[in-house]
């Protein structure tokens, strides 16, 4: 598991170090650098997978810009032409591995310029690491770097979830929500059972169904703009007239089902990020979903970084559990991104929900200029 992340000279991050846990939530005002933290990890991921080209970066969810705009740029600070990302991962029995990335480009004004990594550690194939001219095959090391190379930033769009757009070709799930139906069709019986336990999150939902032969399309269940074969049954409607295609169903259920599939499946990455998890979700669903996803992450050995602007997400977080952390991200008076973990006193008299503490300004992460 990734325990410590250090980022230098990446976009708004001049220099930041974070001690991470299993579930890591990031809050802060718009443009404070939350997504830049997720992206820095994606840069390291692309590097170790030898995919430091525009496709390799954008396929992971990075907003690609020319190198001069990717390096930090602050008034009164001399610009540097290298991004340093250092990851400290911890294996079983406290074994540790440093995964450095020192990234640079030959042409800093060319958006298509291929990035290079000065550090000599990368994945050769799924069983071997190249480390300063040595080959390393220790299982846990290879496993940890493998996990990193599969890291993605998920940022869902309703069109992709509906199967109307398919910009991301990532498998088994696209970074915008693509291919949910295909992954669900591959679910084992155990995974389906696990998934169905969460039907309660959507009050009208009876069950979900993957129409593998796509036969409902020909019975007027969708116009066919979407290629998704996922359907949801409404418990309040009359039999035979109660199946909604992904093309027509409401946005919330698609988002919830995507996250559940991501956390349940053994085929999805074990280390990933979600940008703006609250999109399209009711506040109460946000709270309970986060609680359930945390349990699933523990059961299925996933580590995740999540950004949100919805205070109710915080109410699903238990800050007295060491596996759950909350970070407030802000920019200082020079515009540099900084992060701060929030810990509550063990026996505090605090009587507010975390969501209320955030909204009242007790945690930070709110604009103060108006």
């Amino acid at each position: 598991m990734l325990k410590r992340l250090t980022v230098e000279n990446y976009k708004s991050i001049h220099n930041a170090t974070l001690e991470l846990s299993r579930i890591n939530i990031f809050i802060g005002e718009n443009g404070c650098g939350k997504t830049n933290i997720l992206e820095a990890l994606a840069m390291a991921s692309a590097s170790k997978a030898l995919e430091l080209n525009v496709e390799g970066l954008s396929n992971r969810g990075i907003r690609v810009a020319k190198p001069n705009l990717t390096f930090s740029s602050f008034t009164r600070t001399k610009p540097k032409n290298k991004i340093i990302i250092n990851l400290e991962v911890q294996g079983d029995q406290d074994a540790k591995l440093e995964i450095p990335s020192i990234l640079y480009c030959d042409n800093n004004d060319d958006i298509y310029s291929k990035w290079k990594d000065e550090s000599r550690l990368y994945l050769i194939d799924e069983t071997e690491l190249h480390d300063n001219n040595d080959k390393r095959t220790e299982t846990w090391l290879v496993h940890e770097v493998n996990k990193l190379t599969k890291y993605l930033i998920f940022s869902l769009s309703t069109k992709a979830l509906r199967g109307i757009s398919s910009e991301s070709k990532r498998m088994p799930l696209g970074i915008n929500g693509e291919s949910l139906d295909i992954l669900l069709s591959q679910f084992t019986e155990t995974e389906w059972k696990q998934l169905q336990k969460y039907n309660y999150l959507i009050s009208w939902l009876e069950e979900a169904y993957v129409d593998e032969k796509d036969s409902l399309k020909f019975k007027g269940h969708k116009l066919g703009r979407s290629h998704s074969i996922l359907y949801f049954k409404d418990k309040f409607m009359q039999n035979m007239n109660n199946w909604f295609s992904a093309e027509n169903t409401n946005d919330g259920v698609l988002h919830v089902w995507f996250y559940l599939a991501l956390f349940i499946s053994q085929k999805t990455p074990t280390f990933f990020a979600i940008d703006n998890i609250e999109t399209c979700l009711n506040p109460r669903i946000c709270r309970t979903l986060l609680k359930e996803l945390t349990q699933l992450a523990k059961a299925n050995h996933k580590q995740v970084l999540i950004t949100t602007h919805n205070p109710s997400v915080l109410d699903g977080l238990n800050l007295h559990d060491d596996e759950q952390k909350l970070f407030v991200v802000s920019r200082n008076d020079e515009g540099k991104t900084q992060t701060k973990p929030i810990r509550l006193k063990p026996k505090s008299d605090e009587r507010l929900k975390l969501s209320e503490m955030w909204m009242r300004g007790y945690l930070g992460g709110l604009p103060t200029n108006f």
Binding site: S330, R331, N332, D333, Q338, I342, R343, L344, K345, S348, D349, E350, R351, L352, M357, M359, R360, G361, Y362, L363, G364, L366, T368, N369, F370
Partner: protein, 228 residues
């Protein structure tokens, strides 16, 4: 380190923030506004006047209820609260602070400040071991801002209506461009942030505090804060 400010109004928040930046070199991202920010929603505000959501009575209410202070201090971190209140209405019912004789009294600000602090501690029932600092603005925060613009070397607290005096001085002193840019600004926070931005610089701040005793006493009290 994280500092929360409970103040009468947004203009006071802006001034205190600039003072903190100049006095203890704290970054503004480590300062948060606990009051009056976000206390009411737009539906509440619809039926309220400016005075109802921005005055000393709300500061008193926060002290008596204590929730804001308890909840703010519940986070594991070096945290401090600044309570700002002015003294223009100190004699009013429910405030009821004894005002010492003013003309020719060199200890006027010191005595009045101590009386208000005693009153605040009465409101919060001396319940907090956490660090609380008192920004007692005599008679109003505008008197502190006036130290930047006044041409006179005397304590700015002598003005019975510092708001009026500040406006008069600014109208005389500011260029037409600055008058349009700053004085006509609708956002009180922004306006007073700009008007008091010189407080952010320690070298200016040390000069200005000498023109207002209550300002000086507040800044001296901040020296107890451990700067990281």
């Amino acid at each position: 380190m994280y500092i929360g400010i409970i103040a009468e109004g947004k203009s006071d928040l802006a001034v205190i923030r600039n003072i903190l930046r100049g006095k203890i070199r704290i970054d503004s991202s480590n300062i948060t506004f606990l009051q009056p920010e976000l206390y009411f929603d737009e539906t509440d505000l619809h039926n309220m006047s400016q005075e109802q959501f921005s005055n000393w009575e709300l500061v008193k209410q926060a002290c008596i209820e204590k929730h804001k202070l308890v909840d703010f201090f519940s986070v594991e971190e070096d945290r401090y609260i600044i309570l700002q209140i002015d003294t223009a209405e100190a004699e009013k019912i429910n405030y009821e602070v004894e005002r010492p004789k003013k003309p020719g009294n060199p200890d006027y600000s010191k005595i009045l400040r101590n009386n208000v602090i005693d009153k605040i501690n009465e409101w919060i029932e001396n319940q907090f071991s956490e660090p609380i600092f008192y920004a007692i603005t005599i008679e109003e925060t505008e008197a502190w801002v006036l130290t930047i613009y006044t041409a006179q070397e005397r304590d700015t607290c002598r003005h019975n209506d510092p708001k009026d005096e500040l406006n008069r001085v600014l109208n005389r002193k500011l260029s037409k461009r600055d008058k349009n840019k700053i004085l006509k600004c609708d956002n009180e926070l922004d306006k007073f942030d700009k008007l008091s931005e010189k407080f952010r610089k320690t070298k200016y701040l040390v000069k200005y505090v000498n023109l207002n005793e209550s300002f000086k006493l507040f800044c001296e009290s901040l020296e107890k804060i451990k700067v990281e």
